[in-house]
Symmetry: C2
Subunit: 338 residues, 2 copies
C-alpha cells in the first residue's frame, strides 16, 4: 500500500495508471495501479451511506477520487477503470441489470465512469475479475487455462482461457454452484435439489455447524458463536477446529470434498492447468480445505487427466478482484481483439 | 456428392481445396472441399485391411488420393488436410497417442500427411471436429458459443467458443460423459459411479432395452433384435418405438432426460447460445430425444439462463467431422493466432 509520497515520487509510473474497483454488497474498494500493477493508492468504504436511499453512484466516483488522492495521482493519468460487480450484468453496455443487495436495477456504471473520468471503463462479474486477478498475479499466474471456484455464501466460479475471461453471451457464466451433484439432498436458494451450492456453500456449513453446537458436539464453536447462523463465520469455524471441535472439522471437510468432486467433473470438461480455490472458508483453513478438495477431485477426474492439473488456494484475497478488473480494462483498451 | 465432372468443371474453386478426414475405428472417410466448403469428391473405406497387421498409414493416404481422384483435383491443389481422430492425442505434435480400436500407439499422423502431400496438416479430436463442423455449416452455425453433446457408446462433447475449438492443454477435453450426476447408480467403463455415461450412453440404453425384451415388455424389439446387446442399435430401438414398444420409449426418454440434466448443469457453467445434440440415438429419434433433453435441461438450468440458449439436434450427421476438420486446418493456416 503506497502513501502519497510513493505516488508522487514514482514519476514515470504514475503518468499512466489504471483503477480497479470492487463493488461489494457491503463494502467497496478502489485501488490505483501503475503499469507494473504495483499499488499506488487505495480506498475502502462502505458501499452505501445509511442515511441516503437509492443509487449512490457519486459515492463510487468519490471513492475512486480518494484512492487517486492517496496515490498522489492526477485524474488525467487514469488510462482505464475496471469494475468487478455483482451480477447479472450486461457486459457490452456496462449495465448492472440487478444488484439486490444494493437495491439497484439497470444502473449504467460503465457510462457513468466514462463520463466522470473521461477514460475507458469496463465492468465485469466480480468472480470473473477475481479469477483474472489470480491469473495475472496470483495462484494461476500464466496458466493456459485457469478455473476458479470460490465457495462463500454462494459458490461462484470463473475461467480464464488463453489469457481471456471466458464469458457468457448475455449473462455471466461459470455458475459452478449450480452444477447438479446428486438427485437428492438440500436445495440452494434457486435451482433444483442436489446442486453444489446446496451441499457445500458456507450457508450449508454454518447450518450444519449450528446443529452440531445445538447437539453439544462443538463446545468451542458454542463459546465463539453459539447457534446463531449469522454469527457462524469462516473465522469462528477455523478457530473452533483449531481448538479441537472434530465435528466442525468433519463438516468443513465434507463440504470441501463436494467442492472437489465438482472440480473433478469440471476438469473432465474444461481440462484446466490450474484450479484456484478461494473464498472465506478455503482461505481461513487452507490446508484442510486443499487436502479435502484434492481428495474429492481425485475421485471424479478421469485417469487421463489426473496429472494434467493442480489445485491451489487463492493467493490474492481481497485484492484479486481489483487487480483483475484493472488488468481486464487494460487488456480491452490495449488493442486486444475481444 | 460431386462426380468427376463437377470437380473438373468448377474451375477456379478447385485450384484451392481442403481435405477433411474422419478416422473411425471401423470406417474412414476423406472428403475434398472447395473454398466455399462445397463437396468436390469423397471416399469412404474400411479403416483396416483385414489381411494386414499393424499401422496402415498408407491406406489413409490412398483413401485421400481416391477422394482427390473422385473430385478430379490434382494433389498440388490441396491447401491443407484436417483429420478428426479418436483420442487421446498430442495436438501440437499431431500424434495419436493411443487408439485402442486400431491397435495404434504414438502414430505421427500430422507429419505423415505433411510428408505425403506437401501441405499443412492438423489433427484434432473427432468430436471437437464434429462440433466445429456443426458451427461452420450446421445446427450451431455462427453462434458465439456452441456446446456439442454426442451420446453414443460413450458420451462425447465439444465446445466452440468465439470461433475456436475449446481445447485442453495436453489432453482433449469436454468429456461431458464423465460429469458426476448422482452418487449412486451404474459405473461407466472408467471413472466413479453415477456419471452421465453410466446413466445415459447407448450401452446403458441397450442393456435396459435387452432387459425389457427379456421380461417380455418389448415385443417389437424382440422381433427386431432379441436380447443380444450388440444387435440392439439406434435404428432398431427407433423402429421398436414406432411400432409401439412403450417400454423402450421410456428407456430412451430417461436417458435423454439425463443428458438434458447434464446439459443444464453445463449451461450454468458455459452459458452457450446453442447446444447441439447428436449421435445415433438423437439422430434416429430426433423429436423424442429433443423434447426429453429439453425437459431435463429445464430442470437444472438457472432461471437467469433459461432464455439464453437453445437445444438443437445435429444437422450434418457423418459429414460434421470432415467439414469441421477441414475448416479447422484452414483456420489454422489462414493466419489465425491459435
Amino acid at each position: 500500500m503506497a502513501d502519497d509520497d510513493k505516488g508522487k515520487q514514482s514519476g514515470n509510473s504514475s503518468d499512466r495508471v489504471w483503477v480497479g474497483f470492487d463493488l461489494g454488497g457491503t463494502k467497496m474498494l478502489a485501488v490505483v495501479f501503475d503499469e507494473n500493477f504495483e499499488v499506488l493508492g487505495r480506498k475502502r468504504r462502505k458501499t452505501r451511506e445509511k442515511t441516503k436511499d437509492g443509487v449512490q453512484l457519486e459515492r463510487l466516483a468519490d471513492t475512486i477520487r480518494m484512492a487517486l488522492a492517496d496515490a498522489g495521482v492526477d485524474e488525467s493519468a487514469v488510462q482505464g477503470i475496471g469494475a468487478g460487480c455483482p451480477g447479472p450484468l450486461d457486459l457490452k453496455k456496462g449495465v448492472i441489470l440487478e444488484a439486490p443487495n444494493l437495491g439497484w436495477k439497470n444502473v449504467g456504471l460503465k457510462d457513468y465512469f466514462v463520463e466522470q473520468f473521461d477514460c475507458p471503463a469496463e465492468i465485469c462479474n466480480d468472480v470473473d475479475a477475481g479469477v483474472f486477478g489470480e491469473y495475472i498475479d496470483g495462484a494461476g499466474k500464466g496458466a493456459r487455462c485457469v478455473l476458479g471456484v470460490f465457495p462463500g455464501t454462494g459458490i461462484g466460479g470463473g475461467c480464464v482461457y488463453e489469457g481471456k475471461i471466458f464469458r457468457g453471451s448475455r449473462a455471466s457464466c461459470m455458475e459452478v454452484g449450480f452444477m447438479q451433484m446428486t438427485t437428492e439432498g438440500p436445495a440452494a436458494g434457486v435451482g433444483p435439489v442436489g446442486t453444489l451450492e446446496g451441499l457445500a456453500s458456507r450457508l450449508w456449513v454454518s447450518a450444519e455447524a449450528a446443529k452440531a453446537v445445538y447437539r453439544g458436539k462443538a463446545p468451542n464453536l458454542a463459546k465463539l458463536a453459539g447457534t446463531d447462523l449469522s454469527s457462524i463465520r469462516s473465522g469462528s469455524l477455523s478457530k473452533a477446529i483449531e481448538a479441537g471441535d472434530k465435528a466442525i472439522e468433519e463438516i468443513v471437510a465434507l463440504a470441501a470434498q463436494q467442492v472437489g468432486r465438482a472440480i473433478g467433473s469440471l476438469v473432465n470438461v474444461l481440462a484446466p492447468d490450474i484450479v484456484v480455490v478461494g473464498g472465506g472458508l478455503a482461505e481461513a483453513m487452507p490446508e484442510l480445505y486443499l487436502s479435502e478438495t484434492r481428495k474429492g477431485a481425485k475421485r471424479n477426474v478421469l485417469p487421463s487427466l489426473k496429472d494434467c492439473f493442480e489445485i491451489r488456494i487463492a493467493e490474492l484475497g481481497d485484492n484479486a478482484t481489483v487487480i483483475g478488473a484493472a488488468a481486464w480494462v487494460r487488456q480491452q483498451t490495449d488493442g486486444s481483439d475481444t
